[in-house]
C-alpha cells in the first residue's frame, strides 16, 4: 500500500515536472543565448493555451493535433514581438541590454492579461477532449492519458531541441552566439537572425507548454505570472542558461512538490519558492551549473 502511494506520488511528480521543465526550457534558451530575461514568458504560455482552447471549442480540433499549429502561431508572434520591441536593444552594452529588455518584457507582462481579459473574458477555461480524465493502471498506479501525453510530448520536444542545438548549423550559430556574440559575428554568423529565431523558439515552447497547462489545469488571463515564476524557480534551480539542466530541474521540482503536498498541504507552493531562495543565496550557479 505504501509502495503504491510512493510510486503514485513519484509518477504524478514526474508528469507535472516534465511540464515545468518544458516551460523553463524556453525561458532558459532566451536568457542563455541573448541575456534577455523574458518575464512575459508566461504570457506566451497563456496565449498558447487560449489558442488551443479556441481551436478545440470553435473548430473541434483536438489540442494534441493543434500542437504544430500553435507552435507556428507562437513562433510568429514571438518573432513579431522580438522584431518590434527587442531587436533595437540588443546593440547595447550587456548590463543595459539586460535591464532594458527586462523592462520591455515587464511592460508586455502588464498588457497581455488585460487584452486576454477583453478577448476571452476572465472566465476560467479548460480544454477537455473526450479522453481527458481517463487513466489506465500499471502495477496498481493510475496513469492519466493526458499527463502521459504531456510527458511524452515534453521529452520529444526537448530531445528535438537538443538535436537542433547540437547537430544543425543553426544550433552551431546559437552556441557560438551564446559564448561570444562579437566573435560569432566576426566569423560570419548572422547574430541578428539567430537572436530572432531563438526568441521565437522560446515563445513557441511556451505556447506548447500552454496547451499542456490548458489540458491538465485551467487557462485564465492572469495565469502568466504564476507560470513565469515557476519557470524562474526551475531556471535558478538548474543554473541560469543551462537548457538541458532546466528540464531535469523541472522534474525535480515536480517530484519535490508532489511529495511535500502529502505533508504540507497548501504550503507546498511556498516550499518550492523557499527552496528557490535558498539555492539563490547559497548556490547561485544552480544545481547543474558550473561553480
Amino acid at each position: 500500500m505504501i509502495f503504491i502511494l510512493v510510486a503514485q506520488t513519484l509518477v504524478n511528480g514526474i508528469q507535472i515536472g516534465a511540464m515545468y521543465g518544458l516551460i523553463a526550457v524556453g525561458l532558459s534558451l532566451t536568457f542563455g543565448v541573448m541575456k534577455i530575461l523574458n518575464v512575459a514568458h508566461g504570457e506566451f504560455l497563456m496565449v498558447g493555451g487560449y489558442i488551443a482552447f479556441w481551436l478545440f471549442t470553435l473548430y473541434d480540433i483536438d489540442p494534441l493535433w493543434g500542437l504544430p499549429l500553435i507552435a507556428i502561431a507562437l513562433f510568429l508572434l514571438g518573432a513579431a514581438f522580438y522584431q518590434l520591441l527587442f531587436s533595437g536593444l540588443t546593440k547595447f552594452h550587456e548590463e543595459i541590454k539586460m535591464k532594458n529588455t527586462l523592462l520591455v518584457a515587464f511592460g508586455l507582462f502588464l498588457i497581455f492579461p488585460q487584452i486576454a481579459r477583453w478577448l476571452w473574458t476572465a472566465d476560467e477555461r479548460a480544454i477537455t477532449p473526450m479522453y481527458s480524465g481517463e487513466s489506465f493502471p500499471i502495477l496498481g498506479i493510475q496513469c492519466g492519458y493526458v499527463p502521459l501525453c504531456g510527458l511524452v510530448m515534453a521529452v520529444v520536444v526537448i530531445l528535438g531541441l537538443h538535436l537542433l542545438l547540437t547537430k544543425t548549423y543553426f544550433g552551431k550559430s546559437v552556441r557560438g552566439t551564446t559564448e561570444n556574440w562579437k566573435s560569432a559575428k566576426l566569423m560570419g554568423i548572422n547574430v541578428e537572425r539567430t537572436y530572432l529565431i531563438t526568441f521565437a523558439l522560446g515563445a513557441a515552447l511556451a505556447g506548447l507548454a500552454g496547451v499542456l497547462v490548458g489540458m491538465t489545469q485551467t487557462v485564465t488571463p492572469d495565469m502568466g505570472m504564476p507560470w513565469t515564476i515557476k519557470a524562474l524557480i526551475v531556471l535558478v534551480l538548474a543554473g541560469i542558461g543551462s537548457v538541458g539542466g532546466a528540464f531535469f530541474a523541472g522534474i525535480i521540482l515536480g517530484v519535490v512538490e508532489s511529495v511535500s503536498a502529502i505533508f504540507m498541504g497548501p504550503y507546498t507552493v511556498a516550499l518550492g519558492m523557499g527552496i528557490f531562495l535558498l539555492i539563490l543565496m547559497f548556490r547561485p550557479q544552480g544545481l547543474f551549473g558550473k561553480a
Binding site: L85, G107, R117, I240, L277, M281, P284
Partner: protein
Amino acid sequence: MGKRKEAKLASNWKQLSASGGIIGLLVLVPLITTRTDVITWFYLTLLYIALSQSWNLIGGYAGQLNLGHAAFFGAGALAARYIWLHFGLPLPVAILGGGLAATIFAMIIGLPAFRLKGIYFVIGTLVLAEILRLVFYTILPEADVMPMKLLGTYSLIPRYYLSLLIAVLTVVIIYWISRSRLGLGLMSIREDEDAAEASGVDTQRYKLLAFTISTFLAGLAGGIYAYYSAAFRAGGLFEPVWTFDAVIIVFVGGVGTIVGPIIGSVFFVLLKQILSLYLPGGIHVAVFGVLFIIVVLFLPGGLIELMTKFRKRTSVGEHLH
C-alpha cells in the same frame, strides 16, 4: 561664480516656495470640498506618491530593480493594522511600527537576497513577495474588517491628512538623499557598479542603506493603507500590483527624479479614474503598460523629460543632475 550661486539660491527659493504653495493647497483640500470622491482621489494619489517614491530610491536612484516591493508595503500595512486595531496602541506608534516591521523584515529576508547582483536580485525579490502572498492568503484567509464602532465614525479626512503627511515626508527624505553624498554614490552605482567600487564608493553599504530607507518608507506607505482600508485580506497586501503600479508610475513619470513619481502618480490615478468610466476595469494597466514600453524604448526620462522639452528650458544641466 558668485552670480551662479546667487541664481542657484534664487531657483532653490522658487522651488521651495512652489512646493510650499502646493502643500498649503493640499492641506486646504478637505476644507474646500466635502465630496468623498474628490478626497479619495487625492488620498489615492498621495498613497501612490509615497509608494512609488520609496521604490524610486532603490529602483530609480540606485538602479536595483526591486520587483518585490509589495513584500515591504504588505509587511508595513499588516504590522500597522495589528498594532493599531488588534493591540490597541495609538496610530502614530502603529504607523512607525509598520515602517520598522518592513525594515526588520528586509534585514532578515532581504539582506541575503541583497547580496545577489543584477538579474538574481530581480528574480529573488519577485519570488520573495510571491511567497509572502501565498503564505498570508493561507494563514490569514479571512478578511480583516474594521470593528463596527470604528466604521460608524469612519471619516476620510484623517486618512487624507495621514497620506499627505507621509507623502510629503517621503518626498522630502528622497529629495534630501538625492542631494547628499549617499544619493551621489547610489547614482554612481546605477551607472556602473564596478567603476563606483573602484572609485571608492562602498557599494555594498550604500545599497544596503538605500534598501533600508526604501523599505522603511514602503512600510509607512503600507501604514496609510492599513489606516484607510475598511476591510482587506492579508494576502492582498502582498499582491504584485503594489510593486508593479509603483514601478510603472516611476518609469512613466521619470525614473531617478524627484518630480517624476509625483507627476506619474497624478497621471496614473487620473487615467485610472477616467478610463474606468468608459472601459472595463484594469484597462488603465494596459495603457500604462504601453506607455511604459514607449518610455523604456524611446523616452528614458519619462514625462518629466517630455515636459522639459516642451518648456525648452535652457538650464539642461539642472535636470540631468
